[in-house]
Amino acid sequence: MIHYEGMLDETSGQCLMDMIMMSSVSERVKRKDTRKWCALAIELIDNAIRYNTTDHISFYWEMNESGLVMRLKNTATAKDAERLRDSVERLKAMTPEELETEFRAQMLNGEFGDKGGAGLGMIQIIRKGVRSLEVVIVRRGEDHYICETFIDAKPE
């Protein structure tokens, strides 16, 4: 279990990713699932580093025999928060075949966003079978949103 409240920048984000990857060597959970879950946690943290509008996040990660619970809370602009929420809803409505088409299109377009994103993080999470991904956004100011991402995944 990891519960972190504090600063998030590229360095502290990397520390969190390292800790999560360390947990993938645990004997208590099936390897196949742990590795996948670690990869998607990395995507969420990576996303938060890019789009967080303050230097603070809240991150909770608990992985055991019954599954994974992950919660990440960060701030974002209205545009980025709404785009994340809408993107996740759109991707979750896709069939596996449509997700594969979307993945291919994003991989092959050669484009990166202003903040260095590749448009792949959420596709990868849902494509890897984690449809329990939920995004809740709450407006806190003119251009200031709290963005909360949840995952509650069960072993395959």
């Binding site: 590229e10 990713m17 990869a39 990576d46 580093i49 590749a118 596709i123």
Partner: protein, 125 residues
């Protein structure tokens, strides 16, 4: 040495060692930079400028314990560059390390191979 490319490892970027004289091209380490394309564009530019030095039999070896999806996209662009050099008639090999039956890495290699249209040999350690 000036015709080699050496980039030191950092917490979020891999070690890069491109040595055309030995036919060895290695990318080794975690890859989670925020500006992934910025990092890999150095390698792509080097390949553009030094393609003539790369000989048949050269091996490009990728050993990435984990990476973010932006790195995966940037890696595909790098691999496309390698394929373009290979398509000029040079026999190049791409190796991709997979440790501990890591399914995530296997799937990444499979996806990249399919998108690239060139074999990526998975080396299991």
């Amino acid at each position: 040495m000036s015709e080699s490319l050496h980039i030191a490892v950092t917490r979020s970027t891999p070690l890069v060692r491109f040595e055309p004289v030995n036919g060895k091209f290695e990318v080794t380490g975690i890859s989670t930079p925020i500006n992934s394309f910025g990092f890999y564009s150095q390698l792509i530019q080097w390949l553009d400028e030094h393609a003539g030095l790369i000989t048949s039999g050269s091996v490009f070896r990728f050993d990435l314990p984990y990476f973010n999806s932006a790195s995966m996209k940037a890696l595909l662009i790098l691999l496309q560059k390698i394929k373009a050099i290979s398509d000029t008639g040079k026999n190049l090999e791409i190796e991709w390390l997979v440790r501990d039956e890591d399914e995530f890495m296997e799937e990444a290699a499979d996806s990249l191979q399919e998108l690239l249209g060139m074999p990526i040999r998975q080396i299991r350690e």
